[in-house]
């Protein structure tokens, strides 16, 4: 088989040599045969004739030999391609317009597919990733992010369905290599982690069961390839080096392969240590006794090949019940119903990712949209091809007449279109490579940037190749088929310009069909674009309850630092004074949480609202420094703001939101009322000193939560993390630099993280809507351009074919306006028809987006009216130029025009 292919290739490459040899060989044969016949007594001329008859026609034999060598098929293709290149090269304008249209279509498809591939399709680079499942407790409130250590132990020790269960615990650590500490994503893993995943070390070794045996006894660390490269310049002597993680020393024992980033898509784990070292790097939580379900312990199981998923699920849930009975005896009914109803097995083949659930639907919608873009681009190119084929009609007719089969001519024409598509595909791939990072910019960024591999893998390349090929065949075949059907005789008889009337009609009716199809699909896409843009606009109109503009945020995280308890509070306040003193800063404050980033819960006890179970009502809370309301632009409705006197030891005070006041104190003045707050209960009741406006906290779309603000200075155990906010008119970069300088001048050895503007944080909270609105608008513009080009092309062609008729009309007294209307009327009729066809399709298609819309339904007529209006305007603009040209026709010239 291989031999065969090589032989054919060789024959093809040395085609000229082969031809000569074939000729020599047959001539040699003939010479011998002639000699033989002469010896038999024939005259030389007769001998030559007989020899040639015996061989059966020199050219025919040669052809059969070429066929036998297997080069014929390839040769024709090479011929076709050469010819196609020559033909395309002769009309650069047509070629560039067609290639560009296709490049835009294919590029858009490839870009979206690249993102889809990176987020949803790539498998983890581990052994048999299909067998990996995350064990996740779930209830009516959805699937829990994490698990707990005892659940992991239960599954590990008692399940028979899995060949192993591992546990990992990702976290952010302060990592020091001597000098300023850096915030790094790290994880603690059980000893079987690398073994079960089948990941081998690139340098040194990975972690083993041995490393995970003695509590606190194995301070060893494995680095990611990226971190090794970034921090150690791929120095192999890194083995044995000491790094400090949250102040504890660890020895580097190995580096993982470059493609392995851990089990979470988009988040690169840079340092891995054994679970036995959790107390040394953790936040002080005892993982063996911790009964809570925190988001940070993730158990991953590998299903045995002999066990079905259903069987494993059944077993896991029996064990889950056993675990609940043993370790969670006092669990409330609500907790059971909402969070711990069952244990799910979630496929971990593609890696775990929070963003995936949020973005998979929008990406599918976008994928559908770019599919439409491509079809519309194809329709354009098909139109161009047909008009061109019309111009080449004589050439084609001639080829058919001298005996080329119809299939052969169609093949030649399709080769041209595939060539166009291939060029479009190559340029489209380049577009996609440029565009994909822009797409990533739409996704919300965590503390450490999102790491998504966007280099096109084989799947993306295959996608582009197949798309290009299919488009080539799709838009090439129909025109090729049509053009070879036209009447040969009339084509040959007619002059180059005039051609067969039938062909002109065919071109125009095909062109009309294409344009109607383009309009219909454009309407679908534009309706989507308008719909998502309106939805985003609605989101932007929401009153947030605070002023997000001109606010810069940054975080200070004391986790893993040597600073504890009251020192942290002191440092936070000192840093606040520092940044407040920066010139141009109008107000500054810090708080535990900030809107659209994270929230904090609290339980409130209000006299008259006691519950049967003795627990308080769950509300939202924030510990804030003085100046918080001014900095965030939150309006104080009644009472007073916090003062510097509200510190530990003085009366505990709180500000409440309007909705909380309305709920607990309807029609009364809440100022001066006392309530109990869970975390301050020991120090007695808290006095309400003011009421502030409601703010959106967890998302723009939801309701504002009932909230209470308390002074950070009254916290008994200060939070280790604080978000600082600065209100200033200074340019963001400039201000950020000043903040860094001020914080570094304190020499705390603590890095600043997540410095960004409040507007950016707001944007990230509506990332999905922004992605949809921005991209669909972009694609909307693209199809508008393509559809306009389609209408323009059709109308211009029509006018050029009707110069004669228009001339006659004008000679008979038609005015300019009549001629304009003649052309515009046709364009408008096509648009109307296209819209009529597209409308029901748009209505059905938009249903798929219903759940992604804010204060808008997919059926909203305004959306469709707007989309149709935009299309109509674009069509009139596109048709106006040819219409004007028609109106400028000089009747005298026109009548001579042949």
């Amino acid at each position: 088989m291989l031999n065969d292919l090589l032989f054919r290739l060789r024959s093809l490459l040395r085609r000229r040599g082969m031809e000569r040899e074939l000729d020599d060989e047959l001539q040699f044969h003939l010479a011998h045969q002639v000699e033989k016949e002469i010896q038999a007594g024939l005259p030389p001329a007769e001998a030559r004739r007989r020899a040639q008859i015996a061989l059966g026609g020199l050219e025919q034999t040669k052809d059969e030999c070429r066929e036998a060598r297997g080069t014929a098929a390839l040769e024709t293709t090479v011929q076709d391609i050469r010819y196609a290149l020559r033909v395309l090269g002769k009309s650069p304008a047509f070629t560039s317009v067609a290639v560009l249209s296709l490049a835009l279509g294919i590029g858009a498809n490839t870009a979206i597919f690249t993102l889809m591939d990176a987020l949803m399709l790539r498998s983890l680079p581990v052994k048999a990733p299909d067998q990996l499942y995350r064990l996740a407790p779930a209830g009516q409130a959805g699937i829990l992010e994490g698990s707990n250590f005892r659940l992991y132990e239960t599954m590990r020790d008692q399940s028979r369905s899995f060949s192993g269960v591992l546990l990992y615990n990702p976290n952010q650590w302060q990592v020091g290599l001597g000098g300023e500490a850096e915030l790094v994503y790290g994880q603690c893993v059980t000893g079987n982690y690398y073994g079960l995943l089948g990941v081998q070390a690139a340098v040194g070794r990975t972690l083993t069961e041995e490393d995970d045996r003695a509590a606190g006894g194995n301070p060893v660390a494995v680095l990611s390839h990226a971190y090794w490269e970034r921090r150690f310049g791929r120095d192999p002597s890194v083995l044995g080096r000491t790094i400090t993680i949250n102040q504890a020393p660890f020895t580097v024992v190995g580096v993982t392969p470059p493609e392995f980033f851990g089990l979470e898509t988009g988040r690169s784990i840079d340092i891995t240590v054994p679970m036995s070292m959790h107390p040394q790097v953790g936040s002080g939580m005892n993982l063996k006794t911790g009964r809570g379900f925190t988001g940070v312990f993730v158990p991953i199981a590998r299903l045995k090949t002999s066990v079905s998923l259903d069987h494993a699920r059944a077993e896991v849930n029996i064990l889950f019940e056993r675990f609940l009975a043993t370790w969670m005896p006092g669990m409330s009914v609500i907790a059971r119903r909402d969070k711990l109803q069952r244990c799910e097995l979630i496929p971990a083949r593609n890696g775990l990712m929070k963003l995936r659930a949020q973005f998979s639907r929008p990406l599918q919608v976008l994928m559908g949209m770019v599919g439409l873009v491509l079809i519309i681009a194809c329709a354009n190119v098909a139109n161009l091809l047909l008009v061109r084929a019309r111009a080449r009609q004589r050439e084609i007719a001639l080829r058919l007449a001298i005996g080329a089969s119809r299939a052969r001519v169609v093949r030649q024409l399709v080769t041209e279109s595939i060539l166009l598509a291939t060029m479009g595909g190559a340029i489209g791939l380049a577009f996609a490579l440029l565009g994909a990072p822009v797409l990533i910019g739409f996704l919300p960024q965590d503390t450490v940037p999102l790491v998504l591999s966007l280099t096109p893998d084989s799947r993306v390349l295959a996608f582009t190749a197949v798309t290009s090929l299919l488009t080539g065949v799709l838009f090439g075949l129909v025109p090729a088929w049509r053009v070879t059907q036209w009447d040969l005789n009339s084509a040959l008889r007619a002059g180059a310009r005039q051609g067969a009337a039938g062909a002109t009609l065919a071109v125009r009716s095909f062109g009309r069909a294409m344009v109607v199809c383009q309009i219909a699909l454009s309407l679908v896409l534009l309706a989507g674009a308008v719909m998502f843009a309106r939805s985003l606009h609605n989101l932007r109109q929401v009153d947030l309850g605070f002023q997000p503009e001109r606010v810069l945020l940054f975080k200070i995280n004391f986790d893993g630092s040597p600073y504890k308890g009251p020192t942290i509070a002191t440092l936070d306040h000192r840093l606040l004074e520092k940044v407040r003193a920066i010139p141009g800063v109008q107000a500054a404050a810090f708080s535990v949480v900030s809107p659209f980033d994270a929230w904090d819960g609290e339980n409130i006890f209000v006299p008259g609202f006691e519950r049967a179970d003795g627990r308080g009502d769950e509300i939202r809370a924030n510990w804030v420094s003085p100046g918080y309301l001014t900095t965030m632009g939150i309006q104080l409705i009644a009472g007073r703001d916090f003062s510097p006197a509200d510190v530990l030891g003085n009366q505990q005070v709180a500000l409440i939101t309007e909705n909380l006041a309305r709920h607990y104190f309807p029609g009364q003045n809440p100022i001066g009322r006392r309530v109990g707050l869970q975390r301050q209960l020991k120090a007695g009741p808290t006095e309400i000193v003011g009421v502030v406006r409601d703010v959106k906290f967890e998302g723009v779309a939801g309701d504002s939560p009932r909230m209470v603000y308390t002074p950070a200075a009254q916290e008994t155990i200060p939070h280790s993390r604080a978000t600082f906010a600065l209100r200033s008119d200074r340019a963001t970069n400039d201000l950020a630099a000043a903040v860094r300088a001020q914080v570094q001048s304190e020499h705390l050895g603590i890095p600043i993280v997540q410095m960004k503007t409040m507007s950016r944080q707001l944007d990230e909270s509506v990332a999905r809507e922004r992605l949809l609105a921005t991209l669909s608008s972009f694609f909307g513009l693209l199809v508008l351009l393509l559809a306009s080009a389609g209408i323009y092309g059709l109308m211009a062609y029509g006018v050029s074919r009707r110069v004669n008729e228009i001339g006659i009309r004008m000679a008979l007294g038609a005015r300019v306006a009549d001629v304009l209307w003649l052309v515009l009327r046709e364009a408008l009729a096509l648009v109307a028809f296209g819209i009529a066809v597209g409308l029901p399709v748009a209505l059905i298609a938009s249903q798929s987006a219903n759940q992604m819309l804010f204060r808008l339904t997919a059926e909203d007529p305004a959306t469709l009216i707007a989309a149709a209006g935009i299309l109509a305007v674009a069509a009139v603009v596109a048709a106006y130029l040819p219409a004007r040209r028609a109106a400028m026709v000089n009747p005298v010239t026109a009548l001579h025009y042949e």
């Binding site: 032989f7 060989e25 047959l26 040699f28 044969h29 059966g56 030999c65 036998a68």
Partner: protein, 110 residues
């Protein structure tokens, strides 16, 4: 005489070429002469079909070609057998014999 000649059955030309080339490197004309000599002029080999067959066998890798000088000092293309060609010849010859035996048996019994 002409009536005694029989047309070559489909697929047997390859076998005959292989058998001929097995005797030693030959050029195309010699192969065609040889086949007719050996078959005592009973088999009619279309010269026109000989060359495509040679090229086909070369593509399959059963014979290989090289340029040399013929008896009368002219440049000629010689074909010789390859190892896989010899295997193919053995296999095809065996099949052919079996077929021949089977067919003649059928003819005799009926």
């Amino acid at each position: 005489m002409a009536q005694d000649r029989i047309e070559l059955p489909q697929g047997t030309l390859d076998l005959l070429i292989l058998k001929t080339v097995a005797l030693g490197p030959q050029h195309g004309w010699a192969i065609s002469e040889r086949i007719q000599q050996i078959s005592r002029d009973v088999l009619q080999v279309q010269q026109g079909s000989l060359y495509p067959a040679l090229h086909r066998l070369e593509r399959r890798g059963w014979i290989k070609a090289s340029w040399g000088t013929s008896d009368n000092n002219r440049k000629a293309k010689f074909y010789e057998m390859t190892r896989s060609g010899r295997k193919q010849l053995d296999a095809e010859a065996a099949t052919w014999r079996k077929l021949a035996v089977a067919v003649s048996q059928v003819l005799e019994t009926v």
